[in-house]
């Protein structure tokens, strides 16, 4: 498959698809998880990419904390859904499949990173950027730093809840846990985050 070949391919139904708008609110938009029946894997991946890639990368960044790893995670998820496209029973759940794949692969990245950091020499902490002077930016940075310090499951639950705007059932599906566990992780994460921010202030 040549790289430029599929970009010029006109997908059926792509005229009606407002990709420029949806890329900003992808994770919350449930309707874009549906892919027309009959599309082959290449067409589906192209459509899903144009609709969800950016939001999934941003979701992954909040989970794995760096853009390069996040992009790799999302790209792996797209490759996986391409391979599993024929076996996908419900193509309407392509976005759910992608999201679950991103969450699982993010966990793997964090697990691998934890092993690497355990044996690698620790570097200097990130220096605050110049734009951190504002109060809002300070708060935001503090929240993100506190979020990064949470355990993985709690961070996943909070990111999917407050960035993805997902329901408890969707979070449970993406994380592969029960709804009760989602509630528990969310509550614990919020408490830990609140405590970390109080210590920060």
């Amino acid at each position: 498959m040549p790289p430029n070949d599929s970009e010029e391919r006109k997908l059926p139904g792509s005229d009606e698809r407002p990709t420029d708008v949806t890329t900003e609110t992808l994770v919350a938009d449930r309707s874009l998880g549906a892919v027309p029946v009959g599309w082959d894997a290449d067409m589906a991946v192209t459509a899903l990419y144009s609709a969800h890639y950016r939001s999934l990368v941003r979701l992954a960044v909040l989970l794995v904390r760096d853009v390069a790893s996040a992009e790799e995670v999302v790209q792996d998820a797209f490759v996986a859904i391409h391979g599993a496209w024929r076996r996908l029973r419900d193509t309407d759940k392509a976005l759910a499949y992608l999201r679950q794949s991103v969450v699982n692969r993010s966990r793997s990245v964090l697990r691998h990173r934890a092993v690497v950091e355990r044996y690698a020499p620790k570097g200097l902490p990130d220096a605050p950027s110049a734009e951190n002077g504002a109060i809002g930016e300070l708060e935001r940075t503090a929240v993100i730093e506190a979020l990064r310090g949470l355990p993985t499951r709690q961070r996943e639950a909070l990111v999917l809840r407050y960035y993805g705007d997902l329901s408890e059932a969707e979070i449970a599906n993406a994380m592969g846990i029960s709804k009760g566990a989602v509630k528990s992780h969310t509550a614990r994460g919020m408490a830990a985050l609140r405590m970390a921010l109080e210590q920060f202030s």
């Binding site: 990368v57 941003r58 790209q75 391979g83 708060e139 990111v159 919020m190 609140r194 109080e198 202030s201």
Partner: protein, 206 residues
């Protein structure tokens, strides 16, 4: 910093949104994905092709070995696998379970004079009685003779004679009939007749 729940949730949501919006993914993402998909497809095709090639080679080699007799012999000798009967060994005896082929056993024609003769292959009129148990005289071939006509063969006793003891007597005595030139090559087969009862003897003889 102490926040009410709603404010804290709103702060969390806004912070995540701002952090996420500051990230701009690489525009080459789709090309990278396609490249990975292509690599993956090639990798899968490679193993599939390798498997098919190996299977084809094995098939061709097997066909050549089976078609060339010398090779087949070499392979059979080297592997110890031999075709049944190819190395001189006899086939397993299936006489007790199989039927005799039709037409191999001549049908004896019993004349009223009590001298059985055959047109095709003159065989001894009586088989050696090697049965281990006494067989009743009715069931033998000699029993079909009309009463009063005693066959000249000593192995066919008269009807009133007591059954022979279970001593094998492998001494066939072909019946000397003047009209037939019997070949004195009786082949006593004790294994066949040893397990046959009287009714089977008649069937074999016929």
């Amino acid at each position: 910093m102490t926040f009410p729940d709603d404010d804290f949730e709103e702060l969390l949501r806004a912070s995540m949104r701002a952090e996420a919006d500051s990230i701009v993914p690489s525009p080459e993402g789709l090309n990278i994905i396609r490249g990975r998909i292509e690599k993956r497809g090639l990798r899968g095709t490679f193993w599939w092709r390798a498997g098919v090639s190996v299977a084809g080679a094995v098939l061709v080699a097997g066909t050549v070995v089976m078609l060339v007799p010398d090779l087949r012999t070499q392979v059979s000798q080297s592997t110890g696998i031999s075709v049944a009967g190819a190395d001189g060994s006899e086939l397993p005896d299936t006489s007790s379970t199989g039927r005799p082929p039709a037409g191999t056993v001549p049908t004896p024609v019993i004349s009223p004079s009590g001298t059985p003769h055959s047109q095709v292959t003159p065989t001894p009129s009586h088989k050696p009685t090697t049965s281990m148990r006494p067989s009743p005289p009715k069931a033998t071939v000699c029993a079909t003779h009309p009463p009063g006509k005693i066959p000249p063969s000593p192995s066919c006793p008269p009807e009133k004679e007591t059954p022979s003891p279970p001593v094998p007597t492998p001494t066939p005595t072909p019946t000397p009939t003047p009209s037939v030139t019997p070949t004195p090559t009786p082949t006593p087969t004790p294994t066949e007749t040893a397990t046959l009862d009287a009714g089977d003897e008649v069937a074999v003889a016929s």
